[in-house]
C-alpha cells in the first residue's frame, strides 16, 4: 500500500508574527519552522499503522522552496520512507493542490493524507481541491483512521456530532485532532536514517494563481484587562451588563 502525506512547513505555534514589505509578506526573521500539527498527527497515525504490521510505504510531500527541506527531513526522521519536494512557493491553495494531484497521478499511490488546516493561512482547502481535481472521494477533518479491507474507515466531526465514513482506495482525507494521540518525536536513529533517504525535487506544473494576499494586519491591541476584586464579584456582573452589554 502506498500513502502520500502532505507536510506543511509552518511557523512554530509560539512564533511572534510580524510582516515586512509594506505588510505584504510574512517576516521570517527568527522564525522556527515546524511540520504543521495536523500533518504531524497524520504522519504519526500512518507510522502507527505501519508499525502494527501493515505493508505501507509512506511518501512525504511538500510544495515549497529549498528552505522547506529541513521540515521534510524531519518527516523522514519521524519515519516516512521517502520525500518529494515540488520546487515552488506555496502561495495559493489551488496551485498547491494541483501540484500534489500531479505527483499522485504518477506514483501509484492508494491514498492521500493532508492536515485539516495549515496554521499560517488556516486554509483547510487543499484536501477537497486535490480530490476534486483527481475526481476522488474525500473525508475532510477525520478524527479516526483505520485501514479496513480495500480502503479505510474514518470518523469525522460534523456540526452537532460525528459520522463514521468508509471509503475504498483511492481517496483523500485530511487529518483533524485525535487522528493520532501524541505526535511522534524523531529519535537519533531516525534522524541519522533520514539523511540517507531519498528526497526527490520536482519542478511544478503550470497553474494560474487565483488568490493572493494584498496586506496583513495585526489585531488591534485590546485595552488593558480590567481587574475586579474576588470579594466584589457583583462588579464583574455589572460590567458585563452595563459596559460590555454582553449579558
Amino acid at each position: 500500500m502506498k500513502a502520500l502525506i502532505c507536510i506543511g512547513h509552518v511557523p512554530d505555534t509560539t512564533s511572534k508574527i510580524r510582516f515586512t514589505d509594506n505588510d505584504t509578506k510574512f517576516d521570517t526573521t527568527d522564525i522556527q519552522y515546524i511540520i504543521g500539527p495536523y500533518e504531524e498527527l497524520g504522519l504519526t497515525r500512518l507510522l502507527d499503522i505501519k508499525d502494527a504490521g501493515t505493508d505501507l510505504h509512506i511518501t512525504a510531500i511538500n510544495v515549497g522552496k529549498e528552505e522547506t527541506e529541513a521540515t521534510l527531513r524531519k518527516a523522514l526522521a519521524m519515519g516516512a520512507d521517502e520525500a518529494v519536494r515540488v520546487n515552488a512557493d506555496a502561495t495559493d491553495a489551488f496551485f498547491v493542490a494541483k501540484q500534489i494531484a500531479e505527483v499522485f497521478k504518477t506514483g501509484g499511490y492508494d491514498f492521500i493524507v493532508t492536515g485539516k488546516e495549515s496554521i499560517d493561512y488556516n486554509g483547510g482547502q487543499v484536501d477537497g481541491m486535490i480530490a476534486e481535481i483527481l475526481g476522488l472521494p474525500s473525508v475532510t477533518g477525520a478524527t479516526k483512521f483505520e485501514i479496513e479491507g480495500n480502503g479505510a474507515k474514518m470518523e469525522r466531526e460534523i456540526d452537532g456530532g460525528k459520522e463514521v465514513v468508509v471509503a475504498s482506495f483511492p481517496f483523500v482525507t485530511s487529518a483533524g485532532k485525535d487522528f493520532a494521540k501524541e505526535p511522534r518525536i524523531p529519535g537519533m536513529r531516525g534522524i541519522m536514517a533520514a539523511r540517507r533517504k531519498t528526497l526527490d525535487v520536482k519542478e511544478p506544473v503550470a497553474q494560474v494563481l487565483k488568490t493572493n494576499v494584498s496586506k496583513h494586519f495585526l489585531p488591534e491591541s485590546k485595552p488593558a484587562c480590567k481587574l475586579v476584586s474576588p470579594d466584589n464579584v457583583e462588579e464583574l456582573v455589572r460590567l458585563l451588563h452595563e459596559e460590555a452589554k454582553i449579558i
Binding site: T13, T14, S15, I17, P37, D92, A93, F94, A97, I119, D120, Y121, N122, G123, G124, Q125, V126, G128, E132, L136, P137, S138, T140, E157, D159, G160, G161, K162, E163, V164, V165, A167, S168, F171, K177, K210, T211, N212, V213, S214, H216, F217, L218, P219, K222, C225, K226, L227, V228, S229, P230, V233, E234, L236, V237, L240, H241, A244, I246, I247
Partner: protein, 324 residues
Amino acid sequence: MAILVYTENFDGKFKKSTYELISYGKEIAKVENSEVVAVTIGTVDAGVLNELSKYGASKIISVKNAELNDFSSQAHASAIVQAAKKVNADVVIFANNPNGKAISSRVAVKMDAGLVPAAVGIPSSLAPFTVRKKAFSGKAFADMVITSDVKVLTLTQNSFKVIEAPVTAVLEDFNAEISADMFGAKPVEVVKTTGKLSVTDAEILVSGGRGLKGPENWGMVEEMAEILGAATCCSRPVTDLDWRPHHEHVGQTGKVVAPNLYIAIGISGAVQHLAGVNGSKVMVVINTDKDAPFFESANYGIVGDAFDVVPKLNAAFKKFKAGN
C-alpha cells in the same frame, strides 16, 4: 449575476449562523446590485425555507434528490454547482463549518474559482475582490484578493450580524443530476450529540482548565453555563486527561470558537489555547496567578481561587438573571 448561499439544514431547521450567511450575502448583493439565492439540500418545510427571505433571499432553491440524504462532499458540491450555474452565480458562500469546508473547496475547483476560507468581514472591494480573513491562528489578519471570475468564500461564524431585510421569495424545487460514483466516501453511521448546546453554536462559553484539578469539580462550571444559557468547553490537557469529552476541546488543535463571551476558569492562556478563542468578543479570566498570560488578552479578570470565586459569581449571575 447572483450571490449563491448554501444554507445547510440541520434536521430540517436552520441556525442563527445560516441567517448570518444570508445577511452577509445580501450585503454583497447590495453593492453589486444583484440578488441573494439560497440553495438547500434535503427536506425542509416551506415555512422554514421562507425564513430565509426575512434576511434577503429572493430565491430559494430546494434540492430534493433523495440520494443526497447521505452526505458526500462530491455529490453535494456537484448539486450546488448545478444550482450556481443555473442562476449565474458569481459569488458562492458557505459556512465555515465541517460540511461547508468539505464542499467549498470542491466547488472552487469545479467553478475554476479562488476560495477564501474563514472570511471575517464583507469584501472591502469587489474589483479587485478583496476580503479579510484570519491568519496565523488569529494572531493576524490577511486581506485576500480573489482574481478568478467566480469567487467562493466560507464565513466565520459570529463574524457578521443577522440583519432583517425582508423580501418576497420564489421557492423552487430542483433535481440535480447526481451519479452513483459520487459516493465513494459513504457515511455508515451518524452519531448526534443531542440535547446540549454545541460549543460552536453557543453565544456564551464557560471554559475550564487544568487549574480546576479534576473532573469532579466541573459542577460549578456547568452551573454557570446553565445560569447563563452557555455551553461548556475546556483546554486541551483537560480532554487529554479525559476529564471532559473531546468535543469540548477548544484551541489551535481543537475547535476554533468566536462567542460573544468567553469565561476562562483556571486556564493559563497559552498561545495555542488563545489561538482558538481570540475571536471572542469579550473574554473574562479567573486565575490564581496574576501573571498568567490570559490576563494580557482578557477584557476582564479576577485574580483569585476558582473554588472561592466561581460559587460567588454563580450566585451573582443568578441574582442578576432573576432581576432581569
